[in-house]
Symmetry: C2
Subunit: 238 residues, 2 copies
């Protein structure tokens, strides 16, 4: 079995792909589903999301870390955590994570959203589905590598290596080195450029929430099908 970590989205993904955007899209996605949402629709653009408004969907997302005008929610797991989304579909669009998911879905068949909060469950799901290769793709921030995503990839890579034999690529090697030498999750996330920016925006609680390790067993799972609105990807709890 091979393990590949893309420090930025690249394309040409194998059967099994884990998409990471720890701060904050994939962390928030896990929370929406944990709090009862039926499904998530990740859109290619904010406009696609806004076009779905009024059809019984809730809209969540951000640009530059801040909520998008016309959206119901930002991209905050702390904001989502106390709510009850039972029976609701949440339409998400964010700066990096939703785009990375669309790249992954172009060729990946089993596409999962992963964060620190569901890291162990995500690794087990990926291992269970994989036949030849697991790819982990880090969303990054504005096309730049994000320490928080590489650290999370290293955590998941460690879990995978504990679950079986893998040959690893240079991206995985780098992620494992970062994971083992950047302190605990909160220290790693806080030292990242994106973590510092969120704290400056008053969103430090989201950073602390995103640094909780393997507290959820929910793994957002792509459902392929024709009944999905154009420009969206449908994820359900897995």
């Amino acid at each position: 079995m091979r393990l590949r970590v893309d420090l930025l989205p690249h394309g040409h993904y194998p059967d099994v792909v884990l998409v990471i955007d720890t701060l904050r899209a994939t962390t928030t996605a896990v929370t929406y589903l944990e709090r009862g949402a039926d499904a998530l629709l990740l859109t290619s653009t904010p406009e696609v999301a806004l076009g779905l408004k009024g059809e019984g969907f809730l809209l969540g997302g951000e640009r530059g870390g801040l909520p998008i005008p016309g959206f119901d929610f930002g991209n905050s797991p702390v904001e989502a955590q106390p709510q009850n989304f039972t029976g609701k579909t949440v339409v998400m669009n964010t700066t990096n994570g939703t785009g990375a998911s669309h790249v992954a879905a172009q060729t990946g068949k089993h596409v999962f959203l992963a964060a620190l909060t569901n890291a162990h469950a995500a690794a087990r799901r990926a291992r269970a589905q994989a036949t030849e290769e697991v790819a982990i793709v880090c969303a990054g921030t504005d096309e730049r590598v994000g320490l928080e995503d590489v650290y999370t990839a290293g955590v998941i890579a460690e879990y995978l290596l504990a679950l079986g034999e893998f040959s690893i690529d240079d991206g995985a090697r780098i992620a494992l080195t970062v994971r083992r030498n950047s302190g605990n999750p909160l220290e790693a996330l806080s030292s990242s450029v994106h973590g510092a920016r969120l704290s400056n925006l008053g969103l430090g609680e989201d950073v602390r929430y995103a640094a909780e390790l393997s507290t959820s067993t929910v793994v957002p799972t792509l459902v392929q099908g024709d009944d999905v609105p154009e420009g969206t990807l449908r994820f359900i709890a897995g």
Copy 2:
């Protein structure tokens, strides 16, 4: 002063850019100039290089690690090292390094080629030219991050931090972590996917050569000007 490390070419470079392709383009480029070459012409494609043949230029390059048909040399520092290139211009085209140089030159003004062999000299040149930001760009291998380039970026980042105050981005943080936790240069290069592939091709001597640290003070330096053949970048010893 800011320090930015791109683990893959990205674009939008500031004044000062160091391009790294340790295995082997930038290492070989340093060797050509050390061995007396007047200049290097880095071409955008092998065809541009072949079009210059017969005009008194020597051609060096590779695809898949092997020499290109019609070229005079491969992309091997060990092959170049015993030769005398005095009075010659070497036209280079390689899989990753020459392309990364063209990306860097689109916006960068002071563009230098860096490797482990000239790491300290390259850091000093970059520091001397920079006013606001130094960018280090890793060429990678076939659009994938290469451990050998990230390690080299970490070495140069360490030198830069010893030369003055820098605020660093996540890429630099990752490169420094990799540099400090991947063993000595030969261990790091040997453990990279590209290093292993070169050894399998019988090019292990090139890997050993490329792992020598700061043995050269030659820094290939981009010379902007109109008298350069179309599709090429001209570098001279600096």
